[in-house]
Symmetry: C2
Subunit: 504 residues, 2 copies
């Protein structure tokens, strides 16, 4: 059964619930260009809030932004063997640089005389272009570390596109750093891994497991990859951010050496790391409900909506004016160090019920209902999006009460998501139970199980169950997880449990 918003419920069809919610809440839609999305203003406003928070964190850890060309010469891609293997199959390729009128049929055709000497790939990631550049920028230990981030669009020719989760073009940030030693690069990869965890938990209110990817799952071209993994409401894992220690792989591919303080010539160590608009999909999946978006206050584009309510034109007019006065009077109030993001619903033709549904769909964190009686009593009704609790608050207390309510909502969302994850994290020791958990269409939650450490076993488990090793956790969710045991499939010795799940 569909909700009032015309979206299926989560229990009915989680996948359709997500697709419809993203569209109807005004976050994004499929464009006429196959596989690509339009990020609509409401979705983009959320991305802007994410960008600002992340950008501040990157700058606070010493990084600066720059911009590199989106065109990757085909020969660059070929320089790092694993890297090309990982990306060649989904590359958009520019082959020509001019159109012309078809002299025969009259339409517009690609001018065959304007063929590029070398084809250009649209960046699926920028390691190759950036390390080609770094070869000019790095000569000496004094040029290191180089700590650069880029905000950019990315192209990967996905065959099963889904809004925010997998589209042929998406937006992201990619950090690319260069270091004198393996240890410094390791520190950097760990530092960003922790930045990503903090962003997920403190801003998105999404608890994540910090871990290391297996050899099978690591980034194509990395020495090793760190990841943060979240759990969705349909019990699947979603990879929310990765930080790669690239070793000297790209430095060797692009011949980037530096003179050490002692005068030796050595290859540079590298990291790269990124999060993308996929985080928006993660956020939607983490908190939203059958009525629409539930967004954490620190990132929500609309923290507070004031809905004036009136029976006749006169009372509509009076409450609208009062709503605007109220919004203005909150100008000095601060949540999270910033002015409150307040919207006044000025629509006059729609019913209060329609408007309440609409703001629940769009994920306004707090709704203030302001009717003629409230004007008289000097108080308003404040409704919480996540709990649907309503409270009557004296107008004069709002400047304090609203930020406190937002803070409480932010913290409750994380607590709730954490409780959900705990309830859906299982320690499994028998193969039958393991296979049973991942049988069928749905997800199976997080499963901590023993693994013998071989890619063969990892692949066989994935083939049999569609569950993959999301990560080898860095910090155990329970101390016993780090005790040795027997592999869930082969029974061979295993030093510790690893995290299995079906993944987005």
């Amino acid at each position: 059964m569909s909700s009032k918003q015309g979206i299926p419920s989560r229990s009915e069809n989680y996948s359709e619930w997500y697709n419809e919610l993203v569209v109807r809440a005004g976050m994004a839609e499929h464009s006429s260009v196959a596989g690509c999305m339009v990020i609509k203003p409401h979705g983009y406003a959320l991305w802007e809030n994410m960008q600002r928070a992340l950008d501040d964190m990157f700058k606070a850890t010493g990084h600066v932004n720059a911009y590199f060309p989106m065109f990757v010469p085909k020969s660059f891609l070929a320089k790092e063997a694993e890297h090309v293997e990982g990306f060649a199959k989904e590359c958009a390729v520019v082959t020509h640089y001019r159109l012309k009128l078809d002299p025969a049929a009259g339409g517009l055709i690609v001018d065959p005389e304007a063929k590029l000497e070398e084809e250009l790939i649209l960046r699926p990631t920028s390691e190759t272009v950036i390390w080609n550049t770094y070869s000019r920028w790095i000569q000496s230990y004094r040029d290191l570390p180089l700590l650069i981030n880029q905000w950019a669009n990315i192209v990967r020719w996905e065959m099963r596109p889904r809004l925010f989760l997998r589209t042929r073009e998406f937006l992201w940030q990619e950090g690319h750093t260069a270091h004198a030693t393996y240890e410094e690069a390791e520190e950097e990869a760990a530092r960003i891994h922790e930045v990503y965890r903090r962003f997920a938990e403190d801003w998105m209110a999404v608890p994540v497991v910090k871990g290391r990817k297996t050899e099978v799952e690591k980034f194509a071209g990395a020495d090793h990859t760190y990841t943060i993994e979240a759990l969705t409401q349909d019990l699947r894992a979603i990879q929310a951010g990765t930080s790669h220690h690239l070793g000297q792989n790209f430095a060797k591919a692009f011949d980037v050496t530096f003179q050490t303080q002692e005068g030796r010539l050595e290859y540079v160590y590298a990291t790269s790391w990124g999060v993308s608009t996929r985080l928006i999909g993660t956020l939607v999946m983490a908190h939203s409900d059958d009525k629409g978006l539930v967004l954490p206050p620190r990132l929500a584009p609309i923290q507070i909506v004031i809905v004036p309510i009136g029976r006749d034109d006169a009372s509509k007019q009076a409450t609208l004016q009062a709503a605007e006065r109220l919004a203005a009077s909150l100008g000095e109030a601060r949540y999270d160090g910033r002015p409150l993001r307040i919207t006044v619903d000025k629509r006059t033709k729609e019913s209060p019920g329609f408007k309440f549904n609409d703001w629940e769909l769009k994920g306004a964190c707090l709704r203030i209902e302001l009717g003629p009686r409230d004007l008289e009593s000097g108080s308003v009704v404040v409704a919480r999006r996540d709990t649907f609790e309503k409270e009557t608050v004296p107008t004069e207390d709002l400047a304090e009460a609203l930020p406190a309510e937002l803070a409480e909502m932010q913290s409750r969302l994380l607590r709730k998501a954490l409780a959900f994850r705990e309830a859906n994290t299982h320690r499994v020791d028998r193969w039958e139970e393991f296979a049973e958990r991942f049988a069928g269409e749905g997800g199976g939650g997080f499963v901590l199980a023993h693994w013998d450490g071989t890619p063969e076993t990892e692949k066989e488990i994935a083939e049999r169950t569609k569950a993959t090793i999301r990560c080898i956790p860095l910090e155990p969710l329970h101390p016993d997880d780090e005790k040795p045991g027997a592999c869930i499939l082969t029974g061979r010795p295993s030093p510790r449990r690893v995290l299995f799940a079906k993944a987005y």
Copy 2:
């Protein structure tokens, strides 16, 4: 003769001065991908400051941001006749979506089986993709106005690339708005035209002439185009921003109609408007000198650099610590409502002279010299980048003196540029004088002359002199400019003077 920075002087070779300055100051460089640039951290920091100021202005005038696909199906481009005419010759075309290993030679080749059904153009501008989307978003007068901006990368296959001025990929913002009436669209185009003027003059300290483009020079697909035109130090015009009234051209091409309040079905009116990283080139050309960048304080990435000076290790250490204390003590100081952007030069091996040159090259607005004697006297030397004036200021006065000095520099840069423009703006009435002024390689300044209003005359003047009509000024630079006269070429009647110049 080259300056100490290794860049030619402006008088020696203006073009080379610009190219070398942009590279050596760390703004940008040519990438290995032909025709594309890398925007280096110092240049990107300037762009970020520009973005923030512009974005705030767009939001203050009611606009929101969104993101549309960068891929334009070939058939979209063909829908608006003038538009395709304007852009078809410089389009990057994506034809395939996969690479594979060459079974014969072993290298990486484009997979011929992965050919797109329809070729995709990389957006040279987004009117077509956006109006295809708006056809889904707009049904009723209640959906209007639609006021959307996008920050994005753009591709135009330039054959004579120059850093920031013309590169095959560049960054910009593009506003795309939809309105119920011609008049509302006209108001919007004018509003943004004025936003651009304010940004150029109040932020960039670059005086501009506001005007309307001729039919020959207007945007491909516009009803009419507004422009702001600046004058460079080599006496050429540079178009710094344009705002287009698109009439119903794109609404008709993409069949975007709306139901009016009275129930009629009408085509929507449109505007589009943009500024790009070309503004960085404009800024460099406007104020910089033979020693390097001169940047307006409101946009400069580094407003203040503190250079500790010491003769021996002990005094180097003492002044470095004092410099860091000083920077920290200025934490509460504000210029333009924001914390000061202060850098402490921590390098210990370079001489003070080297550092002074380096910060002059990079365009730090104020340099604070902090030597052992200054420590004793409790004062420092403050040097202004634009005037090279030095002043001794008691340390305790800096929190007030520095913002005041930045404000005075910001205002002086505009005054100076305005005086330069006035000295190089000429009213010419005889053809010989006109032709003489634009003879030779250099620019000829701004020339206000009469024109008979025909495209034929406009084109013939351009052919003979390389000077084009930059705009028909909206506000006369002098009241007499709006008096009628005789066309500079044909002698036919002219209602008013228009602005001629050689353009970048």
